[in-house]
């Protein structure tokens, strides 16, 4: 299990092959990568800055990862979240789940992202070409997605 909060970019292939190359029990690897999206309609996003709460971030990500390992059969998982200033199309977050079976890998990856979105203390601020900057607002849809997973499936 690897959890990292960093400014540096990551490489999906490197991170997934690190999990699989020595573990022949792994049959399925699901990766999710979140990218800086230009949501400003007229494509005038200059950059997005990610702030976080050092200490609490790592604690929350670890708790979410442990919960995923309780609920699904995972061989391994990785969470990397970038902080600092990022440009449009840049990678923000990586979640990798490795399992014997694809259903577990898919569900766990989705769970990790849904909980990370509402439970990990990161905040995004967008700066547009006109020099304006504003904090991104939380979405109700993210809360709904997170709430789906409140009860472990029976």
């Amino acid at each position: 299990m690897k959890i990292s909060v960093q400014h540096d970019d990551f490489d999906v292939s490197t991170e997934s092959l690190r999990l699989t190359e020595s573990n022949p029990a792994i049959g399925a690897v699901v990766s999710f990568v979140g990218h800086v999206r230009d949501t400003s309609h007229n494509q005038n996003l200059v950059d997005m800055t990610l702030e976080h709460y050092p200490g609490m971030t790592e604690k929350q990500l670890s708790e979410i990862a442990v919960e995923a390992q309780k609920r699904w059969h995972l061989e391994d998982l990785t969470i990397i979240h970038r902080v600092g200033a990022l440009k449009p199309t840049e990678q923000i977050v990586l979640v990798i789940t490795a399992s014997s079976h694809r259903q577990d890998a898919f569900e766990a990856a989705q769970f990790l992202m849904d909980w990370l979105k509402t439970k990990a203390p990161f905040w995004k601020k967008e700066t547009t070409k006109d020099g304006q900057s504003q904090w991104v607002e939380a979405l109700d849809s993210d809360n709904d997605a997170a709430n789906k997973w409140i009860n472990p499936k029976t």
Binding site: G34, L50, E51, H52, Y53, G55, M56, K59, Q60, H81, I92, V93, M113, L116, K117, T118, K119, A120, P121, F122, W123, K124, K125, W135, V136, E137, A138
Partner: protein, 83 residues
């Protein structure tokens, strides 16, 4: 007590953190929010609408009725938007 502010709470309070010796009247997060709101103009502005705020006590999410002690680390911030 250490108090941390993030995102627009940091901007509104104009500081990332502060050390505060807890007045004995403050028993809960809600008491602390009320104290900071009344302390000055910035607090009044930042704590104006508590429904916009989230709280962590010792780096775990907490409700407004969470009890506080002087050794706690409390953080105020808007709903998270990472990922």
């Amino acid at each position: 007590m250490k108090i941390c502010y993030f995102a627009w709470m940091r901007e509104k309070m104009d500081m990332a953190e502060e050390e505060l010796t807890l007045p004995t009247t403050i028993k809960t997060v809600a008491d602390l929010m009320d104290f900071l709101k009344k302390r000055d103009e910035k607090g009044a502005h930042a704590f104006d609408d508590s429904s916009l705020l989230r709280v962590a006590v010792n780096q775990s999410f907490a409700n407004f009725d969470h009890p506080l002690s002087d050794s706690d680390e409390v953080a105020f911030f808007p709903p998270v938007t990472g990922g």
